[in-house]
Symmetry: C2
Subunit: 258 residues, 2 copies
DNA sequence: GAAATAGTGTCTTTTAGACACTATGCA
DNA sequence: TGCATAGTGTCTAAAAGACACTATTTC
């Protein structure tokens, strides 16, 4: 018998099926504490959360109303969770064309009081200025950025505390093991700007000490000096600008960087 | 109004919901081409696949019958995909207590002809001897191991070609960037055994050259020599045995191994 | 002794780490 | 001139890379 005939016999609702499939997005940005002239930035890793409205668009009381949550929403039948995440992010924050990546699935029974709902979690990395025009829409009564240490003091919806803990661990790892820092920085940046980004997730002395890092950045194969181009935005002395190139990154634990 | 009251009003079937949620498992093992006395092993990365039965347990023609597929199955409402993967693996292959890890979600519309079915994919790393008593059960008419290069010549079910490509890329990365090689090796191993595992996924000279790797293994913080303990299973000259310890692994691209 | 695997000796080059010093330009 | 940031000079130690050499055992 053919596959087509087999399909006709197949009863898609024979088994208990999930009550929903959602995408959640942990949007990270890095905020400079203050932006003084001739100062290298002091940065903090922030996470964007929304406050769930008391009522939904049809006026009924919302589930987990008033709690803080990751932006996200139900995935439609004609899209992937990744596409859904991109769409939700654009709708809810106006942010488009951003580095977005899957990092986990949350499917523990009972995680959502509404039923058997599976969440596909993504993280996004967004430079500060891209979030300037964020607005609360739809189910959200507020949109805000919180330093990651502050987030766990909030009343968080569903199992978002777990998801956020995982997201923070993943982004720390990604910042140190890949060139993800690129997404937090302008095209052209100084050593102290890259340093500030990395210091949000590590305190390793190779990065924390200015002299060591200023020297180090010149030997990294995936970063190149922009010949003769300097800026004074971080200091009075004109500072060399760098950019990421496309050199492949290798982080094997068994052999050295090539 | 309370959360409880809001829940009562909530109609879980208001939206179109998925038709199923499955777990798939890419079970990798490493096979030694031949096991001669006093020989270091020559190894190949293999993947375990099942051949889908022509009929299901109730005698009806199966979907994608006769094609090769990753083991897996539908996730129940009272379990996570991870638990489902562990269960299926035990049921289908008799393999228990194995390193199992989520690596991706497959949810592209149309990926499964039966409907809107989301697959949560895992990989497993299993030493050769743990698969000795594998048997075809349930929906599988055959269980077999294939060298990864051979897998893509097979007629694969659903979108399993995509899932397998991702799994292979993930395992290559994990073997080089984490101590995952441990799961392919006995507790105590020689430098040439670890070398053989790593050579299944890289040809870097730092690993391929005997003298270099024999020296290197002694400097790796996460591997320790077992003082005075030797074996002759890989050579006539007694060879030093090593084991993995619990030292943390660091693979930052910005600073050196500590 | 030949063959095969497992190393070590030794030299060169590169990288890492420490810490003092110099460079630039604004107030 | 002082101050703050951005570097460089210089030394030492460790690691990486190359290649010849030695060590142990079986046949």
């Amino acid at each position: 018998m053919s596959n087509e005939q087999a399909l006709k016999q197949y009863d898609v609702k024979k088994y208990r099926t999930p009550d929903g499939y959602t995408s959640d997005i942990a949007v990270f940005t890095i905020l400079s504490d203050k932006t003084e002239a001739f100062k290298p930035p002091a940065m903090k890793l922030n996470l964007m959360l929304i406050k769930r409205s008391m009522t939904d668009s049809e006026g009924r009381t919302n589930i987990e109303a008033g709690k803080w949550a990751l932006p996200g929403g139900f995935v439609g039948e004609t899209e992937t969770a990744f596409q859904s995440a991109q769409r939700e992010l654009k709708e809810e924050t106006g942010v488009d064309r951003i580095h977005l990546e899957h990092f986990g699935v949350y499917d523990k029974p009972g995680r959502d009081p509404r039923g058997w709902i599976i969440s596909n979690a993504h993280y996004a990395i967004v430079p500060e200025h891209r979030l300037a025009d964020r607005v609360a829409q739809d189910d959200a009564s507020e949109v805000a950025l919180f330093p990651v240490e502050e987030v766990f003091k909030l009343d968080l919806a569903f199992d978002h505390e777990t998801i956020i803990r995982d997201a923070v661990a993943v982004i720390r790892k990604k910042l140190l093991e890949t060139t993800a820092a690129k997404a937090f920085l302008p095209e052209e940046f100084t050593y102290s700007e890259l340093q500030a980004v990395l210091l949000t997730v590590t305190d390793d002395t190779a990065i924390a000490l200015d002299a060591a890092f200023a020297r180090k950045i010149k030997t990294l194969p995936f970063i190149e000096e922009i010949a003769g181009k300097k800026t004074t935005r971080t200091s009075k002395k004109p500072t060399q600008l760098y950019r990421f190139n496309d050199a492949p990154v290798n982080s094997s634990i068994y052999y050295a960087k090539k």
